[in-house]
Symmetry: C2
Subunit: 470 residues, 2 copies
């Protein structure tokens, strides 16, 4: 059963072959290799293992493998070149498995859908430098089974960062790492029962996942000072808010309402779930701290790098009241189910080095310039609309005359602009629009297009709006 | 609303301050900074932003900030040193939030719990080199919102690798990336209804997550030729198998039963779910290909890097019949919810470079040596036991005389050995033990301990068993 040491010293590629059927070992091996190539299992260009390695694996003589390779080179299935070993020849057929045909999404040239940073702005070099530092310094246990709370190195950095930048009051033991806001909400449904009060405007995706988790949602009206927190009664066990910048209408929650939200939670024993989705991107001079700082025992803060850095990293966090930590950890399970430890360590190093601050600052400047340009261009060219919700974030709301949203969306698509309507964000049970205003509008994300396309995107948006409003 | 260009050129750290209350701007700023330090929000050693940067952010004069910093240095809250800027002084109190006390798990010195590679063996250098190649070459869209099927670069590499090494017949369109076997099973419960037939011995964790997803499980007896597939009737919609190396009892599924499993699926319209958890770690000379190769339209292959590379990466895959692809993708959602794109690209580069093959081969040699040593030591020192299931994998089963498992586990713990009993893997509805044999045994994982502790672990295990059996 144990093999000789010959195999042990060969580090080559692995190859699975079934040596069955009649004939000499050489004949059986040739048939198996030929079949593997013919069927496409071994793709064109694939490098085969060295003779001695395959011979040891299969328990055959080295010459048998050498003969089989030579035969298949002669037949044209394989090629052999000095220095690059034996490979599968290029003329080989593709795999015979029928591919499932994929829908090709028709991509419009100008992407003004909210919520995504420009992927070209990802700081690759700084991220790689952090990965190098983090993986070099990591203790061995970083490569073992993960703690469901997340790596302590990251939780420490997050606690310090959120305290410094968002006024959060917490410590590493109160933070649980997750893969983003959606994952956080899924976990929170396991510890905070429904119904939840939610803002009358919000992500349909979040409403959908709450419904799927069996959590009924009750809309709270939204006006220019954010959610009308005073309207919430005793029924709900939680209220999900976007205090820094109401999503998507854009007002910051008024300071009296901030206090009222925490008071509501204290009085009823409920929780405020603070979706701090863009708290780092403020363009006015009075930064608004996280609501969490007003009531660390009643507020759950949910954040992620999805808008600040990239949605591709799948790293987020929950800052929890002490009473919810064990429940959320239990909901994650005994082991870390989703979040890569190496990515967590890389983000910790990225935060510790100041690279995250630098990136956020660079992006904030860029978003502000884009926002200013959006407002300027629309004010000049489409004076019929009003641009609101612009003090922060990665998007603005373009308020439209009543009844024109559908036509505006159609015109935008015709002009090559992907953009969303405000009404799609409205809770199905909501009464009225945004405060006293109407409900027609576009939610215009200005962060996504690459620099060279942003001007064209604004131009196309103006043309589309002009074609509808004149 | 728009700010001057002064801010735009300063790339420093961010700092959240609430400038409220009475007094001059200087006094208000000093109070806010002092409070941030006093409360622990700004941790000792934290570097403050440069004057001009904070001044621009807050909309105050640069001198106001400089004066405030100087005042707080004088008071001892901050320190200032040439070249390293202004920092929070070291003598500052810790945050006042009460930490949730954490359970400290009592770690035993010798870890023989199955299923985990030695974390010290993670190939950091090769992984980092792959990350560098992958992130440098990645298209911009890699940093955008992810395709729920996973990055195509990884799916291509996996299709080629699994074809070459495991005899899998598939293409990139049939592969969906996930975060490991548990995630795969959760997704599959959404497209393959219950009940599922499962092996009478298997991971309690998997049975638990199936129960939580509402999937009833029906045990299939296991003997030395693997699961008794012929016993499955028409009721179940799927059968979950470990054909390469029955988990945890260790027999490979007999070739007639392999064919019977696929026949069952074809006849009933059901599916075989092939958990290929350690298919790469075989120590005999007749590698067994994946069952998937016998019936790509009826078999789902589930695999991951958790045992071959590290459970900390959270990367796995499903190879799907064409008819299940859309359902599984829909279950994941419109966007990639969990798996980091940068980790996926790194694994793709790691596979493409041959580094994965090299690592598996190195680990296979090491596991084989450890297995041989385990068998040798137990045969010499505890001849009362029988070691089985040793042709593959990262663990062996030590069969014990009837009625001794509990005492053996207690003795192992007393000797500092963490190890699991066979009976914990048994389905609660199972009839009988493993085939005609008893049900008492230990599942001994030999991959985890660092090299320097392995000898001690075996010695302690022998002493523990000796103390019970003599």
């Amino acid at each position: 059963m144990s093999e000789g040491s010959g195999v042990a010293e060969v580090l080559g590629v692995d190859l699975h072959l079934e040596l069955t059927g009649a004939g000499s070992r050489r004949a059986v091996l040739i048939r198996a290799l030929r079949e593997a190539v013919r069927s496409g299992r071994l793709a064109a260009g694939t490098r085969l293992p060295p003779y001695r390695s395959l011979a040891a694996d299969l328990g055959v003589a080295r010459n048998t493998v050498a003969d089989a390779y030579a035969e298949l080179v002669a037949e044209g299935w394989l090629t052999s070149r000095q220095g690059s070993g034996t490979r599968v020849a290029e003329r080989v057929a593709a795999p015979e498995v029928e591919g499932a045909p994929r829908d090709t999404v028709r991509a419009l040239p100008y992407d003004l859908v909210q919520g995504k940073p420009d992927p070209a702005a990802f700081p690759r070099t700084a991220w790689l430098a952090s990965a190098r530092r983090a993986l070099t310094a990591a203790p061995h246990d970083a490569f073992g089974i993960g703690d469901p709370r997340g790596r302590v190195e990251l939780r420490r950095e997050l606690a310090a960062y959120l305290a410094r930048v968002r006024g959060v009051r917490t410590g590493p033991d109160r933070i649980v790492v997750c893969s983003g806001a959606a994952h956080a909400l899924r976990l929170l449904t396991r510890v905070v029962p429904g119904p939840w009060a939610v803002e009358a405007y919000g992500l349909p995706f979040h409403r959908g996942l709450l419904a799927e988790a069996g959590v009924r949602t009750v809309p709270v009206a939204v006006d220019e000072e954010g959610a009308r927190v005073g309207d919430i009664r005793r029924g709900p066990c939680a209220v999900l808010l976007t205090p820094a910048h109401q999503f998507p209408t854009g007002g910051p929650l008024h300071h009296e309402r901030r206090a009222a939200a925490v008071d509501w939670a204290r009085t009823t024993g409920g929780f405020v779930l603070e979706d701090d989705y863009d708290g780092e991107f403020r363009y006015d001079r009075r930064p608004v701290g996280a609501l969490q700082g007003l009531g660390p025992e009643r507020v759950v803060l949910v954040g992620s790098v999805s808008k600040s850095l990239s949605p591709a990293l799948r790293i987020g966090w929950m800052v929890l009241p002490g009473g919810l930590v064990d429940g959320v950890v239990a909901a994650k399970g005994a082991r870390e189910p989703y979040s890569s430890a190496t990515e967590q360590l890389t983000l910790a190093a990225f935060l510790a080095s100041g690279a995250y601050d630098r990136h956020v600052r660079r992006m904030r400047r860029r978003h502000r310039e884009r926002r200013d340009r959006l407002v300027r261009v629309l004010t000049e060219r489409v004076p019929e609309v009003r641009v609101t919700g612009i003090a922060a974030g990665l998007h603005a709301v373009v308020e439209l005359p009543p009844g024109t949203e559908g036509a505006a969306l159609t015109a935008a698509e015709r002009h090559g602009v992907a953009v969303e309507g405000l009404s799609g964000y409205r809770h199905p049970d909501a009464v009225g629009g945004v405060g006293e205003h109407g409900v027609d509008g576009l939610v215009v994300g200005y962060a996504t297009p690459p620099e060279r396309l942003y001007g064209g995107a604004l131009d196309a948006l103006c043309k589309a709006l002009g074609s509808v409003l004149r």
